[in-house]
């Protein structure tokens, strides 16, 4: 026999109430039969995103948080369009306006708030609206299609978002505000002035320190104008009152629950009736009623914990921070931003550039912050504020934000990478970076939507979306394998890449098993991360001596083609310096026809990519193309991109095409820790994009400039100036020597930029540019390495290509 479950009734189908239900289902899914009453006809939606809906940037269906299916799946009985009008606490029963009765063992009240209506003449005229729910929003959208002039009373967060939305829908909008500056509860006067200026540029008009006396209507009972106390009459066919909200406690008071500017609760979110809990905007906790979403969610979590009978959560109040959701306006405020006596202020003001930042300090702690224009560091300041971090040591750099603190390694490391795991990313849902990273790794998440689904981060107000994307990019990465950041090479050993490199050289190790034995590998034959690295270290340290192990290479380097998502391969033949001719093109065309190659694409490296080739066809395709391998599949020299140069170009100062071809012929078949790309431009106009290449060369009147360490990957890195030389031969020698030192010292999967940042550009210059003897030796070692290196497409036996791999095995007859 099944035990009778307890009955939980939730009054209010909004964000706070349903969040509490979600939290409860997470920890005690089978404890209650749950019934929810909602006065609106909709399922739970995201009230915060009404502004983007009004502004036409999102559709209504986009802001639904829990659709009707969700209630059904969780066996929740949902009553929409039913307002609870009575709570019988003695009989433990609620009664709705249609007569529905529902008994409860526990009751959760989340009745939210009501907009405050100014008690002035004309407040009940048609066309006078508040801004609270979907209905209000739909009314405003409808009105904006019919009428031209609107007045918004109230220059706070909500009022400005409403005004902005109506303006975007084509109305002339005037904002009437009783205070001397806009958003005075979140902004100081300076930041507010900048905000006002930017909103004025969007076409909004303002009346500050203005008192509304009455609203005037016509005979039909429609509003036509707003009368101010100073006599001004502003014509308006739509008036939106956004002057504040009041906790909705009508029902609570009617059943005798103690209310005082909100339904009073203790730290467990319990009202004076122990069977009744309350969360959300209807609540007064320690004398404070919150109107922002983050505190409500914290409350929901605590209430759920107690409803689940766990009894361990306490809500002790929230610090709040604010972001305005007006596209194109970046604004952040938190804590005590006003300052005053006993407080110190650090201020950065650049009104011309539209940037203003003010940090308020007390006793070496950050207590408040206002930012306008540049709000990237908002989350970080908020964290310092909440944690009451002592900032004495970083005081002079505090203003410049988190990314300017300490030595974070190489330039351009993004904010997501330097954030602490405990740092909060999504303020609305209280999600910290660590939780997001864990979900991405554990669940293999790849898209923003997936992260939203699994963590709820960025699913409420959306202002942290950029940061969540950064974390996603940083965590999921762009390569199939992870970059060598950790100390130990992989789980098979505690040794670092450097230690393995050093041992191979010092002990003259020549095979992977030798290395693993000598360095006491924990696994019998390594793993998919360490084997390719060791294989590369052996080959680059002992050329012509160490023997390649194809089984320790990623499939692309084993089959000498690029595997695609469907298991077919792509083939990119080499075109020296991006040059081709009719014979090559004819052969390519014939191969494409003969092998039914579905896609031919021009690559960014000035070559042609043939995509969708079956593995069985690869050897024949290579043979019939009769062109060298492009090594587009390898950690090796890929292309040397060139511009047309002095041979044709009227601006060209150097023959960049010839230079590029000489480089490519000198360096092709060169393996490296990661892919290597070069470019040669014939003049400083730099049409070959030398600035984002591992080695970029730019022709000038008097010779060639060399740049190193650029790439155009996930994080674009601009190449740094390396040296200037005169002749083609010098370009070859300096470029080759630089690449050789990178080959000898770089860690596997480390691009040139990361190698340079690790060892320092000055070190590389000292070894290559300043030390002529060393440069010549490096260049000679590279040439020795490449001497006699076979082309795997045309000399597969010599290159050790396993040809059996191309043919499936079959039943022996």
């Amino acid at each position: 026999m099944e035990m009778q479950k307890m009955k939980l009734v939730v009054i209010g189908n909004g964000m706070a109430g349903i969040r509490a239900v979600e939290e409860l289902l997470k920890i005690a899914p089978d404890l209650y039969d749950i019934t929810v009453f909602g006065a609106e006809p909709h399922p739970n939606y995201n009230r915060i995103l009404l502004s983007p809906v009004l502004a036409g940037e999102q559709a209504l269906q986009d802001i639904i948080l829990n659709d009707f299916d969700w209630y059904e799946q969780n066996k929740i009985c949902l009553h929409t369009s039913k307002k609870v009008i009575k709570i019988d606490r003695k009989a433990r029963e609620v009664i709705a306006d249609d007569g529905t009765r529902q008994a409860y063992d526990r009751l959760l009240m989340a009745t939210g708030s009501n907009p405050f209506i100014l008690p002035i003449d004309g407040a009940t005229l048609n066309g006078v609206l508040t801004y609270r729910d979907i209905y209000d929003t739909e009314q405003m959208i409808e009105a904006s299609a019919k009428y031209k002039q609107a007045v918004v009373i109230g220059g706070g967060l909500l009022g400005l978002e409403a005004a902005n939305g109506l303006r975007l829908r084509g109305m002339d909008v005037t904002v009437i505000h009783i205070m001397p500056w806009l958003m005075e509860r979140q902004l100081d006067q300076t930041a507010s002035a900048m905000l006002q200026k930017s909103l004025a540029q969007k076409g909004l008009q303002f009346r500050l320190e203005a008192h509304t006396q009455s609203l005037q209507g016509n005979a039909a009972g429609e509003v036509v104008a707003v009368q101010l106390k100073d006599g001004e009459l502003i014509p308006a066919q739509l008036v939106v009152m956004a002057v504040g909200i009041r906790p909705n406690t009508v029902l609570a008071e009617s059943c005798g629950l103690h209310c005082n500017r909100g339904l009073v609760v203790n730290d467990t979110m319990q009202t004076y009736d122990p069977r009744i809990y309350a969360v959300g905007e209807c609540v007064s906790h320690r004398g404070v009623a919150y109107g922002l979403v983050a505190p409500l969610f914290e409350q929901a979590k605590v209430a759920a914990n107690h409803l689940a009978l766990f009894g361990i959560g306490r809500y002790t109040g929230s610090l709040t921070s604010t972001k305005l959701k007006v596209t194109g306006v970046d604004l952040f405020s938190a804590g005590n931003f006003a300052g005053g006596e006993d407080y110190e202020e650090i201020v950065l003001a650049d009104p011309g550039a539209g940037v203003y930042k003010k940090l308020v300090l007390k006793d070496d702690k950050l207590v408040g912050a206002v930012m306008y224009g540049d709000t990237v560091d908002g989350a970080w300041y908020y964290q310092l504020l909440r944690d009451e971090t002592n900032i004495a040591a970083m005081r002079e750099r505090l203003m410049w934000g988190e990314s300017n603190l300490g030595d974070v390694g190489h330039q351009g490391q993004n904010k997501a990478a330097v954030m602490l795991d405990s740092a909060e990313v999504c303020g609305c849902n209280g999600v910290c970076k660590g939780a997001i990273v864990k979900a991405i790794k554990d669940k293999g998440l790849f898209t923003l939507d997936e992260v939203r689904k699994h963590t709820k981060a960025s699913s409420s107000c959306g202002s942290c979306t950029g940061l969540v994307e950064q974390i996603l990019m940083f965590t999921a990465g762009g390569d199939y394998s992870e970059a060598p950041k950790k100390k130990a090479m992989c789980g098979c050993t505690d040794h670092t890449h450097q230690e393995v490199r050093d041992a191979i050289r010092k002990e003259h190790l020549l095979t992977i098993p030798q290395v693993q034995q000598f360095m006491h590998w924990r696994t019998p034959n390594g793993c998919a991360s360490c084997r390719p690295a060791i294989n590369y270290y052996l080959l680059s340290t002992w050329p012509h001596e160490a023997i390649d192990d194809p089984q320790s290479r990623f499939i692309n380097e084993r089959s000498h083609a690029n595997i695609q998502k469907d298991g077919t391969y792509s083939v990119i033949p080499r075109m020296w310096g991006g040059h081709t001719n009719s014979g090559e093109l004819r052969r390519i065309a014939d191969v494409v026809d003969k092998y039914h190659i579905p896609t031919v694409k021009v690559t960014g490296g000035q070559r042609l990519d043939l995509l969708g080739i079956k593995k069985e066809d690869l050897p024949a395709v290579w043979k019939e193309l009769d062109m060298p391998s492009g090594h587009a599949y390898a950690k090796a020299l890929r292309t040397v991109k060139t511009c047309v140069g002095s041979e044709w170009c009227r601006f060209g100062t150097q023959d960049s095409t010839k230079m590029g071809q000489e480089l490519e012929r000198a360096l092709w078949r060169m393996q490296a820790p990661h892919k290597v790309k070069l470019a040669v431009s014939g003049c400083p106009r730099n049409c070959a994009e030398s600035g984002i290449k591992d080695v970029g060369i730019i022709g000038v009147e008097s010779g060639w400039e060399l740049y190193v360490g650029g790439n155009g990957g996930i994080k674009t890195e601009v190449a740094q100036f390396f040296c200037k030389v005169k002749t083609h031969q010098e370009v070859l020698e300096y470029s080759g020597a630089f690449l050789q030192i990178y080959r000898e010292e770089g860690w596997y999967l480390e691009r040139t930029v990361h190698y340079i940042n690790r060892v320092g550009l000055d070190y590389v210059k000292a070894k290559v540019v300043e030390d002529a003897a060393n440069r010549e030796a490096l260049w000679a070692r590279l040439q020795f390495t490449l001497d006699g290196e076979p082309d795997p497409w045309h000399e597969p036996e010599r290159a050790g290509v396993d040809l059996k791999q191309f043919i499936p095995i079959a039943v022996v007859a």
Binding site: K441, D442, K443, G444, Y480, S481, T523, P524, N525, G526, C527, A528, R531, P532, P550, Q551, S552, R553, F554, I555, N556, R558, S559, I563, K565, D566, G567, D802, K804, Q805, P808, I809, A810, V811, V812
Partner: protein, 118 residues
Amino acid sequence: MPFTPVCSLNDIPALGARRYVRDDGLTIAVFRGEGDKIFALNDKCPHKGGPLSQGIVYGETVACPLHNWCISLKDGTASLPDIGVTERFAVRVVNDVVELDPWSQDLTSIADASLTTK
């Protein structure tokens, strides 16, 4: 179902694999793992269908070439935190000849996995 000889042990590179295409088009990957142990799995990663035969083999595991999921050669299951399983096939070595039963799809591993992930 009968075992049929498909190749000699040395036709499969050490820590490598070969593909066997069944009459109906299904590709079976035959692996040679640590200590010359032979395994056979459906040549499809449970993640996005990547050809496991093309992955790097180590110990009794293969790393899928598409997104680096690590699949156990013994029972076809993905290493945590990834969740998924690929069918295994009966295979044995007799006098250095690899014998495969291409119709011996073993679904019990899949049933086991679905129980544990519940």
